[in-house]
Symmetry: C2
Subunit: 178 residues, 2 copies
DNA sequence: TATTGTTATACTCTATAACTATA
DNA sequence: TATAGTTATAGAGTATAACAATA
């Protein structure tokens, strides 16, 4: 179990060697994740906030206007971080802060036309990054891998949703109490 | 492509929705990685340096005494960070800094008996974490998933070994030049 | 009184530079 | 001169606390 940083699996020889069958999940997971993260970060380099900035664009574009706090909760970032992030995105002209008609404290985040165009371009770049990372698998294997990974992820996310199931709850009828 | 942070895939409805077939590799990868990282970090909580500390133990135990600089390169951490890390590990009695007989500048890092025992315990905990994360797959699927992941990882690591293939080169005969 | 968003501050992690002791 | 390791310092990224406006 090389955990998640070291390069090269290394031939195991010495003392408390890892179990043989379960070879290095952590290592593999770490390598693949970082590889994708790096490729993605490179693809998103010119977006303010990088991956975070992209997420704001993608979410607001796909799901419509969002309040800052909801956005922060959904993306798993602190609300103070969201402020800085949106400052940069707004400065670059990718999103707008609009007053919420039903709550004058809140601001609704919407992507600008330029933001939508940028997003479209970023999606393409990310697709390329994905294909690049999974390049060692053929079509069929890639499909299987994705399917299994997706299943593991959905389960993992259900067990441990970043931290904000509560925030999401108000989008559905509240069945948790009474 | 929900990238790698947001919780819950969310139903896609709006504008520039992600491509339908390649559903959210980044998101899934991120979720699974963080889930494992979190579980592993919890399992390694009482080890100085957490995952890093574990890696030092695992590497020096499996591959024998290592000089600090080599260890740092192999684990992908800065040499200054390695100093702090080893300070803590040595203070806790898990490793020793021994003088290198062939170079009085260098120190060889070796695990103590206590370090080896601790390592043994940690390996068990990490195995549990692994089984936990992959819990949604049955035996056969787990095997396939591991195999595919491993292949992707090995390729990814070859393309982009953390950054220090050069440092590793002196352990083999240098065939890269001449 | 509680909540949205902002600002200022502090903390953590990591990297950079300067230093020593050896080579 | 270059290298192994240490130390001090500075930088990014993130979280905490106090604040203004509104509910």
């Amino acid at each position: 179990m090389g955990f998640m940083t070291s390069s090269v699996p290394e031939s195991r020889g010495g003392g408390a060697t890892a179990t043989s069958v379960e070879a290095d999940l952590g290592w593999a997971l770490g390598v693949v994740f970082r590889r994708y993260a790096k490729a993605a970060a490179a693809a998103l380099d010119d977006v303010p906030g990088g991956p975070r900035g992209y997420q704001v664009l993608a979410t607001t574009n796909a799901e419509g206007p969002k309040r800052q706090l909801d956005l922060a909760a959904q993306l798993g970032v602190d609300r103070t971080v969201m402020t800085y992030l949106l400052d940069d995105l707004e400065k670059t002209g990718l999103v707008l802060r609009q007053p919420d008609p039903v709550d004058r404290r809140a601001r609704l985040i919407v992507p600008t036309d330029q933001g939508k165009e940028t997003l479209c371009d970023l999606e393409r770049r990310l697709s390329a990054a994905e294909r690049d990372v999974l390049g060692s698998l053929d079509e069929g294997e890639r499909l299987i891998f994705r399917m299994l990974l997706q299943r593991v992820a959905v389960k993992a996310d259900a067990v441990d949703p970043i931290q904000n199931a509560c925030e999401l709850a108000d989008e559905t009828i509240d069945i948790t109490e009474t």
